[in-house]
Every structure is written in C-alpha cells, then in structure tokens.
C-alpha cells in the first residue's frame, strides 16, 4: 500500500509514559512496517505506555527512544522493541519508526521501570 502525501492521516494518539502524547501517522507506520515486519500497533502502544526504559537520544535532536523490557534470544542475546519518537513540542511527540534492537543506546535516562530516573 502506497500512501500519497495528501492521504497521510493520523491513526491514533497514544498517551505515553511521562505525559507525552505521541501521534501515529499512516506514513510513518507504513514505513516502520515495510522495513520491520515485526512491528505492530499493539507493540508500539505497549512500548509507549509501559516501557522498560526511555532514553533521550544523545545524537539526534529532540528524539526519545522507548524501549520495551528485554526478551532473551539465543542468537542475539537480549532483544528490545524500540519506538523512536520525535518530540514536536513540549508534551507532544510523533512516531518516527519502530524496530527490534539488540542494544539500548546511550543517552539521558528519562524513565526506568522499577528504578529511579
């Protein structure tokens, strides 16, 4: 499915941990899905609402990375589901993409499940 520029629509807004409202748009979700077939809306919602860790990217401007709790994998070690969110303005973000990853990036820890910031 190809989405034209004028057909880009908001799918939903997720209330992420920390009070950030994250918009999910069709073009971004489609891109995530094409590149990473393991991505689902449910997994995105879950990582945003109940992440294991949230990291403020050291490298990219205004980007927060929402990581799920790691799951053990024989081949890759711990695997995390990561949702990349661009912060549009205070309290508002937008899904950039999502994928599975074998590591958590360096950056300021904004949230850690079961632990202090």
């Amino acid at each position: 499915m190809e989405i034209r520029d004028d057909e880009n629509k908001r799918i939903e807004t997720v209330d992420a941990v920390g009070g950030l409202k994250v918009e999910i748009w069709t073009s971004d979700f489609q891109h995530a899905l094409e590149g990473h077939p393991e991505v689902t809306l449910d997994r995105i919602r879950q990582a945003l609402e109940s992440p294991g860790q949230v990291i403020e990217s050291q490298k990219s401007n205004r980007v927060c990375l929402f990581y799920s709790i790691g799951v053990k994998d024989r081949e890759f070690g711990l695997i995390y589901f990561c949702v990349v969110v661009g912060v549009v303005r205070a309290g508002k973000g937008k899904l950039e993409t999502a994928y599975e990853t074998s590591y958590i990036k360096n950056g300021k820890v904004l949230f850690k499940k079961g632990g202090p910031k």
């Binding site: 891109h31 094409e34 590149g35 077939p37 661009g86 990853t101």
Partner: protein, 132 residues
C-alpha cells in the same frame, strides 16, 4: 529500497528490502547502526543514520550503495531539506509523481534528459556532486 529522512531529527533510514524480519545492531561508526536479517546476521537489510547531514559522505561512500541508490538518497535529502513533497519535486524535474517516487526508491533507470534537469535545478546542491 526505501529511504526516510527527517530534517528535524536528522535521522535517516535506508532499507534495501521489505518483509524481512530484522534486528538493529551496532556498527563501528557511532552514528550508524545496521539492521540485519534475523535468519542471517550477515545479511544487512538496512541502516539507521543519526546526524545524517554530517554523515552524508559516509552514507554515500561507505555503505556500498549503487549510483542509483546514491541518487535516491541525494534526492530524498534535498527534497526534505527544501520541505517539499514528492509530488512537488516531480513537477520541478518534469516527471510523473510515480516516476519520481521510483527514483527515490532507486527503481527507476533515469535517462540523461532527466539527469540534466536534476543537475540544472539543483546545481548548488553539494550532495549531487558527490554522487556523480
């Protein structure tokens, strides 16, 4: 091939194939991570590049992209920097919207006439000079 570039975050995503389950891994370059197929770690499915504007030389020279793929990266990068849609860019270089989209997917065998138009329209864009 699909490319996504966000000017605000300076993140670029390049995927060579779709539908292949994959996982992100580190590379030796701290701004670049790779996506490898879960079924075969040696198969690189795509890349995530942070600080893409600063790393454009690396993208064009070190990721093993073909000329057509480099042009796709360059056009997407220029278009997003100019905050234009694919439809608007198709008008600028005088091709159909679907042809333009196929250029950004590196699926289009571009003719010399279109290349001339691209060069003429974007002659000040350094990224194009690095491609050809």
């Amino acid at each position: 091939m699909t490319i996504k570039y966000n000017l605000k975050t300076d993140l670029m995503y390049i995927h060579f194939s779709s539908g292949v389950p994959n996982i992100q891994m580190k590379t030796a370059h701290e701004d670049v991570s790779k996506f490898v197929a879960k079924a075969n770690k040696n198969q690189i499915v795509g890349y995530e590049i942070e600080n893409a504007s600063k790393n454009m030389d690396f993208i064009l020279e070190k990721l093993g992209l073909s000329r057509k793929q480099k042009l796709a990266v360059g056009m997407c990068f220029i278009r997003e920097n100019k905050k234009k849609s694919q439809k608007e860019f198709s008008t600028i270089i005088n091709v159909s919207e679907s042809t333009y989209k196929s250029i950004e997917k590196a699926e289009h065998n571009i003719g010399f006439d279109v290349l001339d138009i691209i060069y003429d329209q974007f002659k000040k864009e350094e990224v194009l000079h690095k491609i050809f």
